[in-house]
Amino acid sequence: MSGSTPLLAIKGLHVTHAAVSGPRTILSGIDLEIGEGETVGIVGESGSGKSMTAKAVIGLLPPRLVATGSIRFRGRELIGAGERTIADLRGPSISLLMQDPFTMLDPLMQCGAQIVEGLRLVSPRASSSELRAEAVHRLAEVGIRDPEVARRYPFQLSGGMRQRVALAAALAANPDLLIADEPSTALDVTTQAEILELLRSLQRSRGMALLLITHDLRVAFSVCDRVHVFYAGRVLEAAPAAALSAEPLHPYGLGLMLSEPMVDQRAETLTAIPGSVPPPDTVSTRCAFAPRCEWRRDICEAIRPALAEVEQGRLSACVRLPEIRQEMRARRQRESRPAAPRAEAAVARDALLRVEGARKEFGSRSGGAAAVVALNDVSIEIGVGESVGLVGESGSGKTTLGRCVVGLETLTSGRITIAGLDASNYDGADATTRRTLRKTAQIVFQDPYSSLNPRHTIGGVLSETLAVNAFDRSRIPARVAELLDLVGLPKSYASRYPRALSGGERQRVAIARALAVGPKLLVCDEPVSALDVSVQAQILNLLRQLRAELGLSYLFITHDLAVVRQIVDRVYVLYRANLVESGPVDQVLDAPQHDYTRRLIGSIPGHAREQISEGTR
C-alpha cells in the first residue's frame, strides 16, 4: 500500500438494522483500504455482510439500516456527510455494478438510452446525437460491437449481454472506483470467464480501482490483488491474493478453500465445515468462527479477536494462529491428496436408465415462430449403482432431460426406459406403471428455499409423500423418523417449518423426501448450486454416503465441473441441446476431446495452473 491517501478507506464500519424487535448487527468493525488502480476482493458466504459493505460505501443502504464509523473517499468522510455530498460522488467517482443482470436494467428503456443517462452527467452540454454516438463507443468498449444493440430493450438480450450493457452504464461517468457485487454469479461459466476478463482489462485500461465482491475464492484469486475474507459481518483475514491462495492464515479461510471442490482431482472426502453461518449478534463477544472451528479453545470464546498483522502485509483475526499454523498446513496437505484412482467400473449389463434419441421441443402454436429445441437426439445410459453426471450451461437441455426422466415433462420423441419400464410418457401410462416409475426414480431440486411448501411441516411433507404412495399408514411416523435420521437431521425437526431451517438443512429434507419411497435412481438437479460453499461439501458428502449405503444411482445435473468430478463416475456433456462428449469423468476432464468441453474447462476461474502454487491447491 502506498503511503499517499488511499482512494477509499473504511475504518470501523458498523451497520445495524433498526428493527422493531430490536437492533440487529449486519456489519461490525470493518476495516478496508483500496488504493488508486488497485483491485481488492471481498470474499464471503451468505450472511457475511459483503453486499451491505458495497451499499454502505455508495450510500444506498435499505431503509432502517444505519451505518456508523468512517468511510473516506479521497480523504472526504462520507458517513454523516448528507445525501447531497454522496450523490455527487456517485457516477463520476464511485459506481456500482450489481449482481443480477436480469433485473439491473430498466425493462422499459432502450439499452443505449440507459448509457446516455450516465454520459449526460459528465457532459451536460453535449448534443443528443453526440451522446448516442458515444454510447455506441462504450458498448464496443465492453465487447458489444453491433451498434444496433443500443436500440434494443434489455429483454431482447442474453444475460451476458445485459451484464455488459450494465457495465457500460456503470462506467458511463468514468468512475475512479467500481464496486462489482457478484458480477458473474448469475451467468454461465463461459460467460463468467468473459465478464471477469472484461473487468480486468477495463480496470487496466482505465486505471480504475475495482472492489470485487464474490463468494467464490477462485474468482477472487484470479482477478484481485488483495483479498479480504468476510464472515458473519466481520473481516477474518486479509492478504495479497497469491499469498492467501498459497497459505490461508485463518481456519475459516482454510475451511473455505478445502470445501471448494477441486476441478483437477477427486478428493478422498470433501472437507465440510459443520454447522452454518451464524447471525452476527450471536457471536458478538467471541471469535465469529469459533462455534464451527476445530481448533477452538476457551480463549476463542472469551474475547473477540482483533484483526492483527501476522506477517508483512497479512492480517488475521485468529488468536491461536501461531500455535495452529503448522497443523493447518498439515491438514491442507492431507486433504489435498487425491483419492486413489478408481478401478474402472464395469458397465452394468442391465441399464437402470436408458434414454434413446430424446428430443424435446417447446413450440409456440400461434405466431409460427420456430419451436425452441431443448433436446436434440440425446442418448444416455445409467447402470445400477452408477453415478453419472450431466454437464452443461443454461440452455443445454440438461434440466429438461432430468425433468423428463421423472415425468415432469414429456419428450416430443424418443424413448426413456427405467428398470425395464417405458417411462417416455408418464401422463399416458396407466396408474400402476406410473406408481412404479415414481417409486423407482425421484428428483431433488436446486433451490432449497422454494422446494418445500412453507405451510407444511417437515414431518407433514414426508408423511404426505409416503401416504400418496400407498405406504402403510401405521408405519408412517416411524419411517419419517428413519428418513430424517438417514439424512442426518434430528427427529425433532419433523414438527418444524421450513423457515426455521437453513439452506443445507432444507436440502437434506428434500433428499429425504426423494428417498422416502425407496427409489433406485435419484435425479439431482443442481442440488448444491444454491448453497454456500461450506455447506455444499456437507451435502455432497451426504450424497456420496447415501449412495454407498443404499446402492443408489445418480443422474447428477450440474454446470459445475469441480462438483461433477467429485461425485460421478461417468459424465455426459451437453451443449445447446446436443450431446457433445461423454466418458469416464477423469478422462473427459483431463483430456477433453470436444471444443466446447475444452472451453468449459478453460473458463473455470483460476484453473490455469499458474495461479495455483505447485504441490498444493
Binding site: V66, A67, G407, R435
Partner: protein, 284 residues
C-alpha cells in the same frame, strides 16, 4: 449519522404491535366484534323499539329520551341503527363468503389447470366483467321488484368474477413454484395439490379479498337502498335510513349522519384488516 436513502426511516415502534398485530388492527377487530354483538343481541337489549312511532316528536334532534333524535316518522334513530346492524352484517358477509368459496374452488382450478379449462373460465369471467355491474344490479333489482335478498344475490354474482381473477392469478404464480413441482414429482394427486398445497398459501390473499368484498358489498347495498332498491320500505336498514335522513339534514342531521358514520366505520375496519392481511401475504 446515517447513509440511508432519502426515504427517512421512521421508527414504527409507535405501532406497538401486540402479538405481532398492530394496535389499529385490534381496534378494527374490536369494532367488528362490537357490531356483531349489537347485531345479535342489541335489539333485544335496547329498550326502545325501532318501529315505534313517537308522533309528538317528529324529526327532533338528539335528546335525553332519544339519544340520536327521531326520524320523519318519529322513530328512534338509535334503535333503528341497532336494528339495522343485522342487515349491515349479514348481507355483505354472504356476498363475501360466496365470493371466497366460489373463487377458491374455481379460481385455483382454472389457475392450476391452465390451458383450455383456464381459457374457458376466464372468457366467462371476462364476460361478466364487461357488464356494467352497478347498472345491471340496479336494473335487475328494480325489474324483479327489489328486495334485500335479491340485491344480495345480484351483488354476489357480480362480485364473484373479480375474486376469481385474483385467485386465479395467485394460483398461476404458485403453480410455477418448485414445491408444487416437487409434489407432482412425488405423485401427489391434483386435487390435493390444488387445495392442500396451493390454497393454504393464498389464504392471506383470500382473507384480504374477503374483507374488500365485504366492505364493497356494504357500500353497494347501502347505495341500492339509497336508490330505494334495498329492503322493503320501513325495515331499518342503514342505507335507506341514509336516504330518508337526507331530507332531515336540516332538522336532525343525526338521522343521516349516524347511519353514515356506522357504514363508514364498519367499512374502514374491514378494509383495514383486509389491507393488513394483504401486506402479510406480500410479505412487506
Amino acid at each position: 449519522m446515517t447513509l440511508a436513502a432519502p426515504a427517512a426511516p421512521v421508527r414504527l415502534t409507535r405501532r406497538l404491535p401486540i402479538l405481532g398485530v398492530p394496535v389499529i388492527v385490534w381496534l378494527s377487530i374490536g369494532f367488528i366484534v362490537l357490531t356483531l354483538l349489537v347485531a345479535l343481541v342489541g335489539e333485544w337489549l335496547f329498550p326502545i323499539s325501532p318501529v315505534a312511532q313517537d308522533l309528538y316528536r317528529i324529526s327532533t334532534p338528539p335528546s335525553a329520551d332519544h339519544w340520536l333524535g327521531t326520524d320523519e316518522l318519529g322513530r328512534d334513530v338509535l334503535a333503528r341503527l341497532i336494528a339495522g346492524s343485522r342487515t349491515a352484517i349479514i348481507g355483505p358477509f354472504i356476498v363475501a363468503l360466496i365470493g371466497f368459496v366460489v373463487s377458491s374452488l374455481v379460481g385455483i382450478y382454472a389457475g392450476y389447470s391452465g390451458g383450455a379449462v383456464d381459457n374457458i373460465i376466464m372468457r366467462v369471467v371476462d364476460f361478466i366483467i364487461a357488464l356494467p355491474g352497478l347498472l345491471i344490479a340496479i336494473v335487475l333489482v328494480s325489474v324483479l321488484g327489489g328486495g334485500y335478498w335479491l340485491a344480495i344475490g345480484v351483488l354476489s354474482l357480480l362480485n364473484v368474477q373479480g375474486d376469481i381473477r385474483i385467485v386465479r392469478g395467485a394460483a398461476l404464480k404458485e403453480r410455477s413454484l418448485t414445491y408444487i413441482e416437487a409434489a407432482r414429482a412425488v405423485g401427489v394427486p391434483k386435487p390435493r395439490i390444488m387445495y392442500g398445497h396451493i390454497l393454504p398459501n393464498i389464504l392471506a390473499l383470500s382473507a384480504s379479498t374477503f374483507a374488500i368484498d365485504f366492505a364493497g358489498a356494504l357500500v353497494a347495498l347501502a347505495g341500492l337502498a339509497f336508490l330505494g332498491l334495498g329492503a322493503e320500505v320501513g325495515t331499518p336498514e342503514w342505507g335507506s335510513m341514509l336516504a330518508e335522513g337526507q331530507a332531515l339534514l336540516f332538522s336532525n342531521p343525526a338521522a343521516a349522519l349516524a347511519p353514515a358514520a356506522a357504514i363508514i366505520l364498519l367499512a374502514v375496519s374491514v378494509n383495514l384488516i383486509g389491507d393488513w392481511a394483504y401486506d402479510r401475504y406480500t410479505g412487506r
